[in-house]
Every structure is written in C-alpha cells, then in structure tokens.
C-alpha cells in the first residue's frame, strides 16, 4: 500500500524467516510504534497485538485516517496501560499493509509487488516477526503481552512458542482455532474481493484501479460479525436514512445499510485487498490444538510461570465465551495460572475495543499485580 509514517525495522536480512508454510522470507520490514521508555532493567515492556485490520497506531493518530489510536482509551500517559510507567510496543502484523512486509510490497526477486505470489502466512509467523522485533529493540522479555481477537490469537502463539520471554499474558475475546462459521464468513469476504474485476488475480498494483468494491463488501460482511443483533437493533432498528418512506428502489433506505456502506467505503482507503486475503487466511489456518494431537493444553506446557488473564463478552458470537473457556481449561490443565471472566456487554465482539467498565477493572487489577510480581513499583521509569 504505502510505507508507514513512523518507525520501521528491517529484520531477517542475514537469516531468512522460515514460514510455517515452508517458504523463506528475507528481508522482512516491520512498521511499529513505541510509547514510553524502556527502563534500565528492561523489565517494563508491554507488547500489544492488534486485530485483523488493526495497526501499530494503538495510541497515536492514524497516518491515513487521521483518527486517534485504536486503543487510546486504554493506552497512554496516566491511563490503564500507563506509558509513563511502561514501554509499550505495537507492530503491524506480517502480511498487513502499514509498513510491514506483505503482498503489496516489492518482491525482491522480481522488482514488482508480490501480489498473490506472496507466501501464505500464519499467526505464528506474525509472532516470529514480533519476537525478532523485540530482539531489535533489545527487549529480552515482556512484562505483558496483550491482545484482543486476532491479537489474542497472537498472545496464544506467544504462550506456545516463546513462553520464556513472557511474564504475563492477556487475551480478550479470542479463540485458539477458527470454527467452520469463522472460516465461512472469511470465505465470503475473500470471494467478494476475488469477484471484483479490478482484483486481476491480485496483480492490480500498477493497473491504476484497486478492487475497492470487493474489499468494501468483505468489510461489510465482517463488520456484521463484530456487532450483535441487539446492538444493531438498538442503534438502527428499522430507521430510514434521510427519508420519510422507503424508496421502492435499492438506495440505502435503511440507516443500517448506509452505516455498512460507510464502513465499507472508508475501509478501502486504509487497507489493501490482498493483505485482507492473507491475514484472513492466517486466521482460518489457526488451530493450535491441531498441532498437538488435539490437546490444546500440550501447547502451553512451557508456560507454567506466565500469569494469564482471559476475558470474554456475553454478546460476542464471533469468538464466544465457550471458545475462550476452552483456552482457560487448557491453561489450567497445563498448570498455567489463569484468571477468567465473561463480562456482561451488549456490543458484540467489538466490546473489547469499547468502554466496558468491568473489563477495565479486571485489566487494571491484573496489570497492577503483574507489575508488582515483576518487581516494578510505582513511579515513572520504575
């Protein structure tokens, strides 16, 4: 798409990144942001993992949309994740399109954008890149790794792959595998992109036209899964959009149609269609238990020292409580200390991004205890 406004690091220059799919990638560029200062003991780093279409701008203005950071409610000076105390890192995931290597980037072998020649990646591949970024930043271990939705899946892969680098881990509204329904919704999105004549088998970067219609439909479909029926009813009901009666045509008569069209059309300004294919594929391939003979707990055998917290939301039908509880049981069975609650919230899957007081209470208590047990006391730079 375009290089990130912000920090970038070039990794895997000498040793290529070996992907789960078998391909090698070298070099790998990572777009990232940091907030706060790493203390002398290098013990106050927190990695925040973003969701499917998220980015590294967790607590600073998005360079394309100009909107505030996606979790500024939680992350910042004096806030719940206090950047006066902690060194917060957030990087754009592998395959995405805000400064990190993905299908939009030039393939060094051909000098042209990768397109669909880009290798298919996994959530664990994303985490491998994050681990290399930590090396680059001279951070050996994290006080906490935190993520919701696809971010939570990255946290799970951290627990499975690099537990020795973790002190605590927070997973919000997530799952250790994609279900048939999860894959089904993603497939609709991908087919919408591929059905757009501008997609051109993924080789659209120099054609002057992008598969915006397809990507917008993909976003509209996905967006429905982030909400709940109650939230949609409360927000829109059957209200009409700027008219007194239905038009007996196919304009956006209903407010909900207008809202979804808006979500779709603004999304294409900040996201690359091929990146959407790759990142949704990575989600679909996630099945951590599958790698361990069906026993999820076996994935967490090395994580018995990591303080864990799992939170689900009552109205989330994308990654519902039962999927989150599966994680809790597996952690328990592996002897990993874990706290869990299902929090009452009406907003659907997106609850983890919204103002939910009970989530804040729980996170605040958990992070304070994590800092205490990490030997961090109050005060700036402590």
């Amino acid at each position: 798409m375009r290089p990130a406004a912000g920090k970038t690091a070039t990794l895997f220059q000498d040793t290529p990144l070996a992907l789960d799919g078998g391909a090698m990638l070298s070099p790998v560029t990572v777009g990232y942001e940091t907030y706060g200062t790493l203390n002398e003991a290098r013990s106050n780093a927190i990695l925040i993992c973003h969701a499917l279409t998220g980015d590294q701008y967790v607590a600073s203005e998005h360079p394309i949309t100009g909107k505030p950071g996606w979790w500024e409610r939680i992350v910042g000076p004096g806030k719940l994740i206090d950047t006066d105390r902690y060194f917060v890192i957030c990087s754009n995931v592998l395959g995405s399109c805000l400064g990190t290597t993905g299908p939009w980037e030039e393939n060094p072998a051909t000098g042209k954008p990768w397109g669909t020649d880009f290798p298919v990646i996994t959530i664990r591949d994303m985490v491998r890149v994050q681990a290399a970024l930590l090396d680059h930043l001279n951070v050996d271990s994290l006080m906490a790794v935190i993520g919701g939705s696809m971010g939570g899946m990255q946290v799970l892969e951290w627990l499975a792959t690099y537990p020795e680098r973790l002190h605590s881990a927070v997973m919000l509204a997530t799952a250790a595998r994609h279900t048939a329904q999860n894959i089904a919704f993603h497939e609709v999105g991908r087919q919408a992109i591929m059905a757009d004549p501008n997609w051109q088998e993924g080789r659209y970067y120099d054609t002057g036209a992008r598969p915006e219609k397809g990507l917008a439909v993909a976003r509209m479909t996905a967006h429905i899964t982030y909400l709940s029926e109650d939230a949609l009813t409360a927000k829109f009901g059957r209200n009409l959009q700027g008219r007194e009666a239905v038009s007996f045509g196919f304009d956006a008569d209903f407010q909900v149609e207008s809202y979804l069209r808006h979500q779709g059309s603004t999304f294409v300004d900040r996201f690359d269609a091929n990146s959407y294919l790759y990142v949704t594929r990575a989600l679909d391939y996630l099945d951590i238990a599958g790698r361990h003979g069906g026993r999820l707990s076996d994935a967490f055998k090395g994580a018995a020292h990591v303080r864990c917290c799992v939170i689900s939301f009552t109205s989330d039908w994308l990654y519902p409580t039962i999927e989150n509880k599966r994680i809790v049981h597996a952690l328990n069975a592996a002897g990993v200390p874990v706290s869990f609650a299902e929090i009452e919230a009406p907003h659907g899957h997106d609850s983890f991004l919204l103002d939910v007081q009970e989530m804040d209470h729980m996170l605040r208590g958990f992070i304070a205890a994590a800092a205490r047990t990490r030997g961090l006391t109050g005060g700036i730079g402590a």
């Binding site: 328990n332 874990v338 729980m362 605040r364 208590g365 304070a368």
Partner: protein, 198 residues
Amino acid sequence: MNLRKDLQLIADLVPANARVLDVGCGDGELLDYLVNERGIDGRGIELSQKGVNECISRGLFVVQGDADNDLEEYPDQSFDLVILSRTLQAVHRPREVLLDLLRIGRQAIVTIPNFAQWKVRADLLFRGRMPVTKSMPQTWYNTDNIHFCTILDLFDLAEAEGLKVRAFVPHMRNGRRLDMGPKLANLMAEQALFLLEK
C-alpha cells in the same frame, strides 16, 4: 493480616505447600491469606464479577464459574485440597458436587450451616414458619439455600459415599469452636467444618 475467624478454622487445616482450589472464593480473603501469608499455590472459582475483580486486584488467580457447572472441567486429582465454604446447601446437586470435590482434590474441606441447631428448630417449632436466624437471614422465597442439611445429615452422606471424615470442627458464626461430638454439635453449632477424604 487478620483473617475472619471462621476462615481461620479452614486455613488451620491447610497443609504447607498444598495446591488448593477455593470454590466460591468470594472477594478472595482466604485465598489471599493462603497464597500471600502461607506461600500456598491457591486458585479460586467465583461467580460474581465483583468477587472476580477483587481477587484479581489482590493478584490472585480466579476463574468465573460455580460449583454446579464448572467443576467437571477440572482434571482428576489436580489439587491437594478443594475448599467449599458455606455453599453446599446452595447448589443444585450437592451429592455430585461433593463427589466432584474429591475427584479434583485428594481432600476437601466443606463447611455447612447447620439446620438442626436449637435456635433454628425453635424458630420452626414455635413460629411455624421457615426459620430466619442471624446465620440464615434470608426468607424462604429469596434464599440461595435450596438444599438445607444438618451436621448429622452430612455425616450420613459421607458414610453412604464411603468418605472418611478426617476432621470435624463444629463452630459458631463468629468462628468460636465448640468442643463436642457430632450429636451434641448437631443441636448447638451454627455451622460445621468437615475435612473429607475418599
């Protein structure tokens, strides 16, 4: 740290270095004491969000859930000791819960309010209405207690299921111990603690 006296009775029976699961751990007072004063590896289960949040703020590990629905998810013999304090009378299937406690843990500590205490008997006898006492302050229609039992009832159940009573501590609500056998305690004690083993 001043532990509530009735909780102290439980804490006194927890062996050093035990792995403990406190089912219905409330605000985490007992767990906090066990973990932070006694260095015990303790986990909790609590239904209320408020209790969960308080436990987490204390740095404890607690999973939201209740005795009726969530015990089955814990592996066999994964704890040395499972605690169920003043909750057995409020679950739907007390017998199954009791057996589950001893499936998960090698030992279980169960405390119950005693429905056969003389004040309760007198209240029922003379008022002719479901007893409302200081240790059972709720009325019949809003009480959480759906399976009231007495000290002798619990001894009977333990015997029927082949469970050994390793310790029996009848006491008052304020935690004062009563030094007496089961039959007299059944008349005098407001509540009782049982340390059970398979």
